[in-house]
């Protein structure tokens, strides 16, 4: 039998969240300004390189989000650490990760059209990333299937761990198979070298940091929303029970 649900807490500091939001927006604005107007065009890609100040950060945040979702799922499944907030964090992080995965696919497609001559190719990296998107879309859908809280949380946690198997496959696909997509330029897993320098490197780094802050802000808000929805369900049930008892006593 599952453990009873405890009272929810809306503990996230509103002020801290606002400050985080302002810093994240400032970082994104700076990234866009540097990416579009300050950094030079690339020797081979020309101005298209400017898309790469947002495309790799999207992919990084997606991986981070799914990593957090998986870790939270493990902590939920582990009996000693099982708590509602790990389930909520997993759901919030996976949903935000899904948005970033979609943006990774779209921004990559926009870059690929003038570079490769096609909006989409069945490249291993693109295909496994599309699979990742579908897997987590299924996860988010599964979370919406009605059921008792802990039953739903347990099956969602297992689904999150299954879906996460695709993350390392996506990352190493450019090494494992012949791929049209270029290998990582920041931290190449084979050569352990960085192939981007100067203002381009700093702008890319700022993009990684800024969009990571955006991710944290989004997850915090999504978490609070889930917390309020759960509390609403609980209190709605109490109202219904009170109404039934009042009817019975008449």
């Amino acid at each position: 039998m599952s453990a009873p649900r405890g009272k929810t807490q809306l503990g996230t500091s509103a002020l801290a969240l606002r400050v985080l939001g302002v810093v994240a927006v400032a970082g994104v604005v700076a990234t866009v300004w540097l990416g579009l107007f300050v950094t030079p065009p690339d020797e081979f890609m020309g101005n298209l390189v400017r898309l790469l100040y947002v495309h790799p950060p999207m992919a990084w945040v997606a991986f981070l989000a799914f990593g957090v979702a998986s870790l939270s799922s493990v902590l939920y499944l582990w009996p000693r650490t099982r708590a509602e907030h790990f389930d909520r964090l997993a759901g919030a992080s996976a949903e935000v990760g899904l948005v970033f995965t979609g943006l990774t696919l779209v921004s990559g497609s926009i870059w690929g059209r003038p570079t490769w001559g096609a909006w989409w190719v069945w490249d291993p990296l693109l295909t496994t990333t599309a699979l990742l998107f579908v897997l987590y879309l299924g996860y988010v859908a599964l979370r919406r299937v009605p059921g008792e809280f802990h039953v739903r949380a347990r099956r969602s946690a297992i689904a999150a761990l299954i879906a996460f198997v695709d993350v390392p496959v996506v990352y190493f696909s450019v090494e494992w198979w012949r791929s049209l997509h270029q290998a990582p330029t920041v931290l190449n897993p084979t050569t352990h070298k960085t192939y981007v320098h100067g203002s381009m490197a700093w702008t890319l780094l700022l993009g990684f940091v800024s969009f990571t802050l955006v991710y944290i802000w989004l997850v915090a808000h999504r978490y609070r929303l889930a917390e309020m929805q759960d509390r609403e369900d609980d209190e709605g049930l109490e109202v219904a029970l009170a109404e039934r008892r009042a009817e019975a006593s008449v």
């Binding site: 101005n47 779209v106 059209r113 309020m228």
Partner: protein, 78 residues
């Protein structure tokens, strides 16, 4: 530039802005609903100890003296 770069930035920033706005609006709506549900819970729940009240079987805390029959005595009994 060449249109593709601008399109990429518009899609990324537009989607994130729209998603952020959606979350904030949904959170605000949930907070308002939560407030109304809490008020409804406080209004609908009969006085503690009455037969129609919310008691231990609903997992809620009850206060006050317990009668011999195991039921809570009404707080304002004559």
């Amino acid at each position: 530039m060449n249109g593709y770069v601008e399109a990429g930035y518009v899609v990324v920033l537009g989607t994130l802005s729209a998603y952020s706005a959606t979350l904030v609006v949904r959170e605000r709506a949930a907070r308002m609903r939560l407030g109304s549900v809490s008020r409804a819970a406080a209004t609908k729940a009969p006085a503690r100890g009455t037969p129609g009240g919310v008691g231990e079987d609903a997992g809620l805390e009850v206060e006050g003296p317990i009668g011999e029959d195991g039921l809570k005595a009404p707080e304002s009994s004559p």
